[in-house]
Amino acid sequence: MNIELIRNDPTVQRWLKSAGLLEEDQREIDGHVEVVGEYCDYAGVTPRELVEKCLRPLNSDDPEQREISLKGRREVNTSIQQWSDGLTGTRFMRAIAGNMVRGFLVHNGILIQGNPVL
């Protein structure tokens, strides 16, 4: 994972800004970016490609017009769950990691809800 590449990705910047994370200290920001980076490594995608996997073209004439892909979002959500379940650490920490990736998607326009730690 190239942390600089991840951090500078426009989707990551959008997330950090929208979630108010840029107001946090640098270590906190880096921690968030690293989590998304680790998941992207696991899934073999860039952050932008991760967002794209949750979208599909609205019609074939205009590929720029897109909507959320129910199938794509479901697959990504399952993949995030599998990834976070396989992490080391407590159940709480694993869940937070998964939800952090979901938060990245949320702030990029993908309606996806987090799994609470109960």
Binding site: A19, G20, L21, I68, R73, F92, A95, I96, N99, M100, R102, G103, F104, V106, L111, I112, Q113, G114, N115, P116, V117, L118
Partner: protein, 260 residues
């Protein structure tokens, strides 16, 4: 609780205390409120199944999920699944004759056993049953009234509640849902984890935007004194955004490990 206060307190609760069960007597009060709703033909338009989250198998609970209900399904300890009974015209004549017997439907307003027995089938029941749009339209309106009363009753009981869409395909057979029960909303029920203000009363347009006086061109004019009275009585409350809302949401997210 006073009626105006209950109406003012109602808002969609999105974070429930997952660990706190809901007392059965409160659920009964909610169902009875629905049972007392206004309904044409004294018909039973609404059906409901009360389900405890922890008594549903994980597979069935997952099957209810859609993108906007996922979190509430995990947090709310009780769900009430509401359905529209599309066979609500069954038994209409018996129910209406009962109202005639009880002097509720009376001759001065045109009601008689003769009309119920001989006239109502063709003039009312056949028209409803023969028109899917009308059948569903009436069912939705009358069910909605029952659900709205149940919703207010939940807040009157000190609970929080929210209505959501839900996926019902996989629960119908295991829960024995008849084919003629059409899915309506699922009501999430529980004690609010968030403050009861839940961020403040939602922004609403002024009465003059949607309500009219005499004709559809003359907006209703509010009397400021009445508005103040309604504020004093709790019907109109502090609107969102509340200054501490972001911090509240962040704290809840941290508590449950949710994304900010």
């Amino acid at each position: 609780m006073e009626f105006k206060q209950v109406v003012g307190n109602r808002r969609t609760i999105r974070f429930f205390k997952p660990w706190r069960p809901v007392e059965k007597e409160k659920i009964q009060a909610i169902l009875e409120a629905a049972n007392r709703s206004s309904r044409s033909m004294n018909a039973d338009y609404v059906k409901a199944i009360v389900v405890h989250r922890d008594e549903l198998s994980p597979e069935l609970r997952d099957s209810l999920r859609n993108p906007t209900t996922t979190l509430s399904l995990d947090l709310a300890p009780v769900y009430i699944m509401w359905f529209i009974n599309l066979k609500y015209t069954e038994g209409t004549k018996d129910r209406l004759n009962e109202l005639v017997d009880h002097d509720i439907q009376v001759a001065s307003q045109g009601w008689s056993h003769a009309y119920v027995d001989e006239g109502i089938q063709k003039t009312v029941i056949d028209k409803i049953e023969g028109d899917d749009f009308r059948l569903n339209w009436m069912g939705a309106i009358e069910s909605g009234q029952a659900i709205a009363q149940a919703l207010l009753a939940a807040f009157d009981e000190g609970l929080g509640a929210a209505l959501h869409n839900f996926a019902d395909a996989k629960i119908r057979e295991p829960l024995g849902v008849p084919d003629h029960w059409r899915r309506s909303w699922i009501m999430m029920l529980g004690y609010p984890l968030e403050e009861p203000e839940a961020g403040g009363q939602r922004p609403r347009r002024p009465l003059s935007d949607n309500f009219f006086w005499g004709d559809a061109r003359t907006p209703f004019e509010e009397d400021p004194e009445v508005t103040q009275h309604l504020k004093d009585e709790g019907l109109i409350q502090t609107p969102s955004p509340l200054p501490w809302r972001k911090a509240e949401i962040r704290a809840i997210n941290r508590m449950l490990g949710l994304p900010d």
